[in-house]
């Protein structure tokens, strides 16, 4: 319950900051006159510090004996009163001093989850993982190449080359059998499920070049979304849905280089973010619909980095600065950005808080290459 009320009062990205926050406690629940405050993000694998108060004044934590229920819910993490949260769910902490006692229950959240494709032992499949690297689960096992997953309403849609060309398949987020959605001699790529799970956008190249289509979530009744837009030969790719309202942002090369266009199907596209002689690709809406992250090489050295544009103002902020490509941004439900960091032929997942872009964190996905993350809404 504490975690929920915490989220209601603070901007969601703050949850990820690990900034010292004076957590809003429900008040002392223990016996005696000790009360317990907690500082830090109440999320699995994060580190928090419990502060113990007596008559409103902090006590020396080295004199406090902490116990937890469940007992394996935390492990010490350095200083007195500092612990790493090992599991999600309710955790009751008890602070005891000679003759005094206090107790408090906190709710530890499960970190947001992403689906992604992982190249392991020569086979690329769809996996999911929580941001703390736990709950790593393989969702597809076909020996063919599976990649580029999107997810909504507990359904994952992805691209598979198991039939010799790019086709769309789906699999339950909880795991299960994959179901083939398309069966054409052409390439279906770049799927994007609308957050309500009721529409699917993807690209289809029957016209000789990838064009943007929308369809039912099972890929039936596909409709060309941009019949009067661009040139016959302009490429369209990378569609992303707004969290509500049905707006799409996608990539097109209709102006020479790849730019971002927005559209409200069946309306006409309009330029959203573009620059001459640089590419803007891989758009992703923030969960509040106010920002769009994207990838661009519009940098002084041409390095590929992750940017974010605030829709209301058009202000663009560069989020990554590392030499080497950073790409494939996706927003978690609480406002963090997950992206892929490429070093040579190695690709790894990281996350950062867009409001504090200088600090990023690795997502442990084991051996092999992890790429194209998509956050579970």
């Amino acid at each position: 319950m504490i975690a929920r009320s915490f989220r209601r009062r603070l901007p969601l990205p703050a949850l990820a900051l690990l900034l010292p926050l004076a957590a809003a406690c429900d008040g002392p629940t223990g016996t005696g006159s000790l009360s317990i405050d907690v500082t830090g993000a109440l999320e699995r694998s994060q580190t928090v510090t419990f502060t113990v108060l007596r008559d409103g004044q902090p006590v020396d934590l080295t004199r406090v004996d902490f116990t937890f229920d469940p007992a394996d819910a935390v492990q010490p993490a350095g200083g007195a009163g500092t612990f790493r949260l090992l599991r999600a769910g309710a955790v009751t902490v008890t602070a005891a001093m000679p003759g005094l006692r206090g107790r408090r229950t906190v709710d530890v959240a499960t970190p947001p989850m992403v689906v992604f494709d992982r190249l392991l032992s020569g086979n690329r499949d769809i996996w999911k993982v929580a941001l703390d690297g736990l709950d790593l689960t393989r969702l597809t096992t076909d020996p063919g190449d599976d990649q580029d997953a999107t997810v909504a309403q507990n359904t994952v849609v992805f691209v598979s080359f198991r039939g010799g060309n790019a086709e769309l398949f789906s699999v339950p987020l909880a795991g299960g059998d994959a179901q083939r959605l398309t069966n054409t001699p052409f390439h279906e790529l770049a799927p994007a499920l609308r957050p309500d799970g009721q529409r699917l956008a993807f690209t289809y190249d029957e016209a000789g070049v990838a064009k943007l289509y929308t369809a039912n979530p099972d890929a039936s009744s596909r409709t060309w979304a941009t019949p009067n837009f661009g040139f016959d030969g302009s490429i369209e790719t990378g569609p992303a849905w707004a969290p509500a309202g049905g707006r799409l942002v996608f990539v097109t090369t209709s102006t020479g280089e790849a730019d971002l266009y927005r559209m409200d199907p069946p309306g006409e596209p309009a330029l959203f973010v573009g620059s001459a002689n640089a590419a803007e690709v891989e758009p992703a809406f923030s969960p509040d619909g106010e920002r769009v992250a994207f990838t661009s090489d519009n940098t002084p050295d041409g390095d590929t980095e992750v940017f974010v544009v605030r829709i209301a103002t058009g202000a663009v902020t560069r989020l990554t600065t590392r030499p080497g490509p950073d790409a494939h941004p996706t927003w978690t439900r609480d406002g963090r950005l997950v992206y892929a960091e490429l070093t040579g032929s190695t690709s790894r997942l990281r996350w950062l808080n867009p409001d504090v872009p200088g600090v990023s964190f690795p997502i442990e996905t084991g051996t092999g290459n992890a790429a194209r993350p998509f956050a579970v809404p």
């Binding site: 020569g122 086979n123 052409f186 000789g208």
Partner: protein
């Protein structure tokens, strides 16, 4: 496209040479509606490559062609715009490395690898998708890419050819290498070519003897080629998809002819006894608009690009004596053109079939009392948001203007004393036009974003170059 891809897939089982030849040849044209699939112009198809590891074959079939307002273009169109060829295909099963020599040949009339004719930016072939195993299991990796870039997605490998390619010129070979496990039997990838392209225009110009013919030239004045040589006057060219149509007086009145931008035979499109003039090809070169004299007044007509299916475009518009002229297509159903339907020359927007609506009618407020100005020679910008045209709205001095169709805002582009006219949009958003200087016409270009800077296309200014039309692809 469907039949082309099936051809490649089928030939995977054939000997290497046969496979390579089959996938490199231009696919046979599809009949409309064949197999229920819209026919694909090979100029628009992406470069899909498929490698058979066991057979040591690698072939690339047609893949796509975009354009736009930046210096660089992303180009596909195997065997139409470019020809990506492979040679010396090998697979080292011990090292698990598949390799081939790749070359890129320029099949465009434009130079590739330079935006201005002087700066060498080179040609990049990048992986839009893949390489991905399509047979067997295993991860394919590009081993020796020139770099990783962002083209249509983040972090795409590319190979760089540091050359400028003229028409039909081929790059030096680069040896591409992939890490391909023995467990992979075939793999696929899609390529595009990203390169700056030097713009080209067609225009009419006199020769030293005073005979006006059709020419083409690059923006830096290079690659000047005379396309017609008939002793009668040829003028007002239009160009799309390498097809040039123009008006000629070789039969006593104005008729329309067509030929390839690369030269070759000429085909007469009209032979009615009436004058046909002001031709305009639609962007996909399937439709033609032009004026034909009806009762002594030029009226807007449309037709198929081969001159068949002629129809009056706006039969109930204007008066019998009003004059139509200078049409320009946005797409196959929407035109902008000039008409004197209400007295002065104004611009009209016409969606076929339909009734024209006024697009631009300016007032000249530099004179007292103000007067209705004339607007002529409109052309849609490549993205369809603007129309460039010529007008005498500035005190009888004809200048270039641009109207933003969505906002209605009209911007004057040229301010020079002297006539500026015949605007045409390059794919990169610049405008080429004719400037009357010292009693002769010359070609100039201007970036509407920097209208104060105007640059001559270096030609012999004594030869009176006029009526430019940009080559788009």
């Amino acid at each position: 496209m469907r039949s082309a891809r099936r051809l490649c897939a089928a030939l995977l089982l054939a000997p290497a040479a046969l496979f390579a030849a089959g996938c490199s040849d231009r696919p046979a044209p599809l009949e409309p509606g064949e197999g229920g699939v819209t026919p694909v112009d090979p100029a628009l198809a992406a470069i899909d490559c498929r490698a058979d590891v066991r057979a040591r074959t690698l072939g690339c079939a047609p893949a796509a062609v975009p354009l736009g307002a930046a210096a660089n273009r992303i180009i596909g169109g195997q065997n139409v715009n470019v020809k990506v060829a492979t040679a010396n295909i090998a697979y080292d099963s011990v090292a698990e490395v598949f390799a081939a020599d790749f070359t890129v040949q320029n099949l465009l009339v434009n130079k590739m690898g330079t935006a201005d004719g002087a700066t060498v930016s080179g040609v990049r072939a990048f992986f839009h998708s893949g390489p991905t195993a399509s047979g067997g299991t295993g991860a394919i990796e590009v081993l020796n890419a020139s770099g990783i870039g962002t083209f249509t997605a983040g972090a795409q490998p590319y190979y760089q050819y540091n050359q400028v390619l003229s028409y039909q010129q081929t790059t030096a070979p680069l040896r591409w290498q992939w890490s391909v496990p023995k467990t992979v039997t075939s793999f696929v990838f899609t390529l595009y070519i990203r390169t700056p392209v030097l713009p080209v225009v067609v225009f009419d110009q006199k020769d030293a003897l005073g005979n006006r013919d059709i020419w083409r030239v690059a923006l830096d004045g290079s690659d000047l080629v005379r396309l017609t040589t008939d002793g009668y006057e040829d003028k007002k060219p239009t160009v799309a998809r390498n097809v040039v149509v123009w008006a000629t007086y070789r039969h006593g009145q104005s008729d329309l002819y067509r030929k390839s931008i690369f030269g070759g035979a000429e085909t007469r499109l009209t032979a009615t006894g009436a004058s046909e003039f002001d031709p305009a090809l639609s962007p996909d070169a399937t439709k033609l608009a032009f004026t034909r004299e009806v009762g002594g007044a030029a009226k807007l007509h449309t037709a198929n690009a081969d001159g068949t299916g002629v129809a009056l475009a706006a039969s109930s518009f204007g008066t019998p004596a009003s004059i139509d002229g200078s049409p320009g297509w946005l797409n196959n159903t929407r035109l902008v053109y000039m008409s004197t339907a209400f007295g002065g020359a104004d611009l009209y927007d016409l969606s076929l079939p339909g009734t024209p609506s006024e697009l631009a009618s300016l007032l000249d407020a530099t004179v007292t009392p103000s007067r209705e100005a004339n607007e002529v020679e409109p052309e849609w910008s490549p993205d369809g948001t603007r129309v460039a045209f010529a007008s005498d709205a500035a005190g009888y001095d004809t200048e270039i203007y641009v109207k933003h169709v969505g906002t209605g805002v009209v911007t004057r582009i040229t301010e020079r004393a002297g006539i500026d006219s015949h605007p045409t949009w390059l794919s990169d958003g610049r405008i080429v036009y004719t400037a009357h200087v010292g009693g002769k016409w010359r070609l100039r270009w201007v970036d509407p974003a920097s209208p104060g800077v105007q640059t001559d296309i270096p030609l012999n200014f004594a030869l009176d170059a006029r009526s430019p039309r940009a080559v788009r692809f």
